[in-house]
Point group: C2
Chain length 193, copies 2
Amino acid sequence: MTRIMPVVRWEPDAAGRLRAAAMELYVERGFEQTTVAEIALRAGLTARTFFRHFADKREVLFGGSAALFDEVMRAVEQAPAGAAPMQVVAAALDAAAGVLGQHQDYSRQRQSVINANPELQERELIKLVSLAAALADGLRRRGVPEPDASLAGEAGVVVLRVAFGRWLTEPGDLELSQAMREALDRLAVVAAR
Amino acid sequence: MTRIMPVVRWEPDAAGRLRAAAMELYVERGFEQTTVAEIALRAGLTARTFFRHFADKREVLFGGSAALFDEVMRAVEQAPAGAAPMQVVAAALDAAAGVLGQHQDYSRQRQSVINANPELQERELIKLVSLAAALADGLRRRGVPEPDASLAGEAGVVVLRVAFGRWLTEPGDLELSQAMREALDRLAVVAAR
DNA sequence: CCAGTGATGTCACTTGATGACATCACCGTA
DNA sequence: TACGGTGATGTCATCAAGTGACATCACTGG
């Protein structure tokens, strides 16, 4: 619709406007109470167009996950040749901390939206499980046998979850990478029985 | 509708008929290709009634999870007083194996439906994460401090996932509880770095 | 025999999601 | 300049998930 956008046909890109509008509404009134039509309206677009940019209403909140994924996998590939599985995982977690560790405020806001809605938690979990699978795959490619590769991959994501949760809730001066390292060490102790 | 059920008004219960009909259709033509209306039709009921028994189309496949939950939590409570966190988790996993270890055929069928559909995987994951949280909670009630309780709970579910997967795919003579124990031992080794 | 209760059906509606097709801006090129 | 192609968007139609409101019928206890 040309009439909707008066003169400057190109503000930011459509996906960006949709994402921003969606975040605003999710925070203002909650995820379920927000309609795709409303998001599109606020972005000056149409519901139909929303679905051309996002597979579904939830996906808006998970756009950044590809970057995390890439960083983690790169770290796995570049880890020193002789490293033990959990050493590789530690390197991957460090890379993850680098990606996630910025924007604590945004992370908190986003997480509070997610925590308030089971549907969104489901989506988040599937992303993390994919990450675990990818991690395990990377380890297998490095020659780590099963079930060690799977266990290490899953364990890595466990550490990520626990450390990230602590980082989000704890008063600000904790470094995410530090939290990761501590959780990793702690897991070694606990798992030993 | 009285006319639908000719004479014998009470065959099995409605929930059971709906569940059976849904499973059949999910297997026959896949989850997404199955409509709630079709499920209800096959069960001799209405779509509206389907939603009186199941929160959504997916929930049909996850009805048994409460039993698993209960068994696991009971095992946690009944573990010997001085047991280390992972000893408690081991006991819980043994209880879980007791519940899941029967009906390998049904489990396989159910899992293949789930594996074929991301939506269903999400639902399964959220159940498992709830289990991890409950496990952690049980440990905390036993006096295990954070982050050990969370880590042990999550680690327990990791072991469950890995062992269950192996049990489902491997030729039949492997005991689930055996697979659990092996995965648990292996995790201890891997996590030690 | 009747009132109450619970399970179900019917109807109407909102919302998410998708396919088909039309439209418009923009870009390169004859 | 005029033209044709391409990509992003709008419009329309439609299906399926889910929910609320209300009616109906069987069963049960008094």
